[in-house]
Symmetry: C2
């Protein structure tokens, strides 16, 4: 670790030693050797400066990151890592490994898919208007056949499935049904690594589109809109705030569900 | 913002100006004026140094933070904010507002409760062994009558409910049933603010217990264990990796569920 010295205190100190003019010259020279070192306070200025990234590179990086510290880390690092590397310190010193916590829907609790949790964090950090991007990404994740990338280094055949939900256990259960593989199989682990790649890629596509001024489309599926017409804001029940697909979990209830009329 | 100058380059530079001995003396003096300034790379050393915090102060701070940037931010900042303030830069320059993304189960998608998402991130950042703390916290959240704090500044009567789930929409739906208030009411907002306080407080209690060397107890409820005996690792189905309560969403399915025998 390199020690850092406060510039203002140094000018005062050197002024006493060598005269103010010489001290200022010296410090100006030293400054030029340290122009890449921004103060750590820059981290708090959101969004961080973003320039368009390569979506396919993000896909590969997300896959590889998954094997380092799981799905949330893999996705977040694949998006924010290249930005931080471009910007240098203090950005590159962000504690990326914090996002290991989101693995398996947060420490194996199977709640939010870690790839979406990581992507949403990255979007908040990098976008001047994050909400439309998160909405578009989550809706895409629910309905797409995923993973839609087959990264370099993958050992097993590509098998895709539709999650019908942003939740980890729904996503994995759908995939095990299609693949006939178990949840703790190496095939399932590789699928979640590829999913980190897919979600990182789609997030980069959305960030690039927004940076280029393109409109970001988003609409809830019709079935979800039907549920929300009673359960969301202004509905007869209004007992939740939600956008996620209801049918993924609650479809078996629908027979017993009261009619709207 | 104060500019920082690289120490090693400065010694070389001053060596040419005033002789190596004088330069070393000067820089040693300057070092003493800058001992509190760690380089930003310190952020990556996990866990960050943790000293026990006051759980009740965390509860109040979580409540107040909720009104600044919602539930995930409120909870994370209530735990990590005081640690960062104790440690100074670069810790205090962490981009706390990134965690606004988790509000309403991530941008209103109603997935993972933002208080748990924020607490899990904080635990990963501050604990040398985060998994037992996250497990204990999530299991506590599912079964407790919450929020169990009534912060200073709260305007409405305290109403508690049991979430039976770590998910946002389950937690809110349970509370609206007990309270007979709507999901978009100011009472529900205040309840989620108090919940940020409750979860921050409980997380600090757990972090303090671990720091004191106390064992952290955790066991899945018997009903969840029953489901997992087929659906989790080594079970006949093994189609998920999960610890969350199944009955919160899937109870209506149980009548149609195949018998284990």
């Amino acid at each position: 670790m390199e020690k850092q010295i406060d510039r203002r205190k140094l000018v005062t100190l050197l002024g006493g030693f060598a005269g103010v003019g010489a001290a200022a010259t010296l410090v100006a020279h030293a400054d030029q050797t340290a122009t890449a070192k921004a103060p750590s306070a820059a981290l708090q200025n959101l969004p961080w400066p973003y320039k368009p990234l390569d979506p396919n590179a993000a896909a590969q990086r997300g896959f590889e990151g998954y094997y380092k510290a799981e799905c949330m880390y893999g996705t977040f690092e694949a998006i924010v890592g290249p930005v931080a590397e471009q910007l240098g310190s203090p950005y590159k010193d962000f504690p990326f490994l914090m996002f290991k916590y989101g693995g398996g829907g947060i420490k194996g609790w199977a709640t939010i898919c870690g790839t979406l949790n990581g992507a949403a964090a990255a979007i908040q950090l990098l976008s001047p208007n994050p909400d439309p991007l998160v909405n578009a990404l989550f809706e895409w994740y629910e309905r797409e056949q995923l993973p839609d990338v087959h990264p370099k280094g993958a050992k097993f055949p590509e098998i895709r499935s539709v999650a019908n939900s942003p939740l980890c256990h729904q996503s994995i259960a759908s995939w095990t049904k299609v693949s006939q593989k178990h949840a703790y199989s190496p095939e399932r682990a590789e699928r979640c690594g590829a999913l980190a790649g897919s979600v990182a890629k789609q997030t980069v596509i959305l960030l690039n589109e927004q940076a280029a001024g393109k409109p970001i489309a988003f609409a809830l599926p019709q079935a979800t809109q039907g549920c929300m017409s009673c359960h969301e804001k202004g509905g007869a029940v209004e007992n939740i705030r939600a956008k996620m697909n209801c049918g993924g979990c609650h479809a078996p209830m629908l027979g017993k569900h009261p009619s709207k009329s």
